[in-house]
Each structure stands twice: as structure tokens, then as C-alpha cells.
Symmetry: C2
DNA sequence: AATTCATATGAACGATCATTTATATGAGTG
DNA sequence: CACTCATATAAATGATCGTTCATATGAATT
């Protein structure tokens, strides 16, 4: 998984998580609810994102809060999304 | 495969192909040799890239030349690479 | 039209991935 | 200390992906 950024970004749920915590940090439950994903699945994806260095975590009491470590990733995602949309419309 | 750009970019050989034909258009054999990939594997990846809209093809005699359709993709790849490197060094 | 060169395609297979289920860890609370 | 809340992890499974091998297509050449 940790080979390259783009492998980590290839999964739509991981991209959604990045968008979701891009605005403000959130705990695992919030992310799960926000994206309607099972808690354990969210945890798995958070692990991948964390090992890739894309997100940071911080414990506050029982909860663990995650946030994007490099805000630039959101810009890259946006650029990719724009390009993707443009390519689709072409066909 | 055609769901989203990032799924197409997740494979390292496809990314290499994009870099390879980013500078100037090349035929399949040239791409194969350039990246040391089997011809059929190259063709498979070219098909994926083509269906994603990332590349264009043009026949000249026996050969088929491929080029990047949206040069912006190279910039996005570069940005991703820079970010990926930065994230790795952090650890 | 048969042959050759360039590329594409299809089937097969192992490898990796995404998801679910069940369970473990670990911090706070009564 | 027992309990519960929040999160993590491990095992299992089906799905998808990357690659290889064999073969097909299609254009040029003889």
C-alpha cells in the first residue's frame, strides 16, 4: 500500500475521507457517520492513509482525531477531479 | 477501471507510460522498449489509459502512435510525486 | 494472396485489495 | 475493578488487478 501516494488515492473511500477531514479534524465515529462507512472499514482506511503520511492523529480522551497532514493533498485531489470530469465529458 | 482518474494513475507502469509519451508521441514498440515492458502488457495499459481519456492514438502506416491528450496530467503527476517524496522523508 | 511487422485481444492465474465479522485494546466512568 | 465507549486489529472471503501466454487483427511488402 505504501509504495506511492497514487496507490493510496486510488480508493474512493480513502479520497472521501481526505475530503471529509480536510476542512476540520474529526474522530473516527464522525468520519464513519459522515461517509456512511462501517467503523472497522473506516479504521482500515485511516490506517492506510496514516501509513502513507497523508493524515495525522491526536488522542483526546477516548476519541482519536484525524486531520490532513498536508493540505496540498486537497488541491491535488481537486485538480484530479477537474481533469477527470473534463476527460469524461470529452467522450 | 474507468471509474476515476486516480484508479488509472494508481499503477506505476501506467504512470511511467504517461511520463514516457509526455515529452513526445511514441509508438507501442518504442514505449515497450523505453520501459522494458512486454508488448502485450504495454498494449493492455495503453488501452486502460485510452479508455480513461488520458491518451490519444494516431495510426501512421503499420505503427500506432500514442500521446498524452491533456498535458496537465503530467503536472498533476509531478505534484503528486513531490508530495509523495515529502511525505516519505517525514517518517 | 502469402508473409511479415506492429499492435490488440482473450483466457488464465496468482497477487493484492476492499469489505465484513468477530474480537482485542485501551481510555474513561461508575 | 468491572463496565462501556471508541478505536484497532486479525482472519476470512469475494472481487478486482497485473501479468503472461497464446492467438487474432490489420496494414504493408513481396
Amino acid at each position: 500500500m505504501n509504495d506511492h501516494l497514487y496507490e493510496c488515492l486510488s480508493n474512493v473511500n480513502r479520497r472521501k475521507i481526505l475530503y471529509c477531514i480536510g476542512e476540520e479534524e474529526k474522530c473516527v465515529n464522525e468520519i464513519s457517520e459522515c461517509l456512511d462507512l462501517e467503523q472497522s472499514l473506516t479504521s482500515h482506511h485511516l490506517k492506510d492513509l496514516y501509513e502513507c503520511g497523508l493524515i495525522e492523529k491526536k488522542r483526546k480522551g477516548k476519541r482519536i482525531y484525524y486531520k490532513v497532514s498536508e493540505p496540498e493533498i486537497i488541491e491535488i485531489l481537486e485538480k484530479g477531479k477537474e481533469l477527470g470530469d473534463r476527460l469524461e465529458k470529452r467522450c
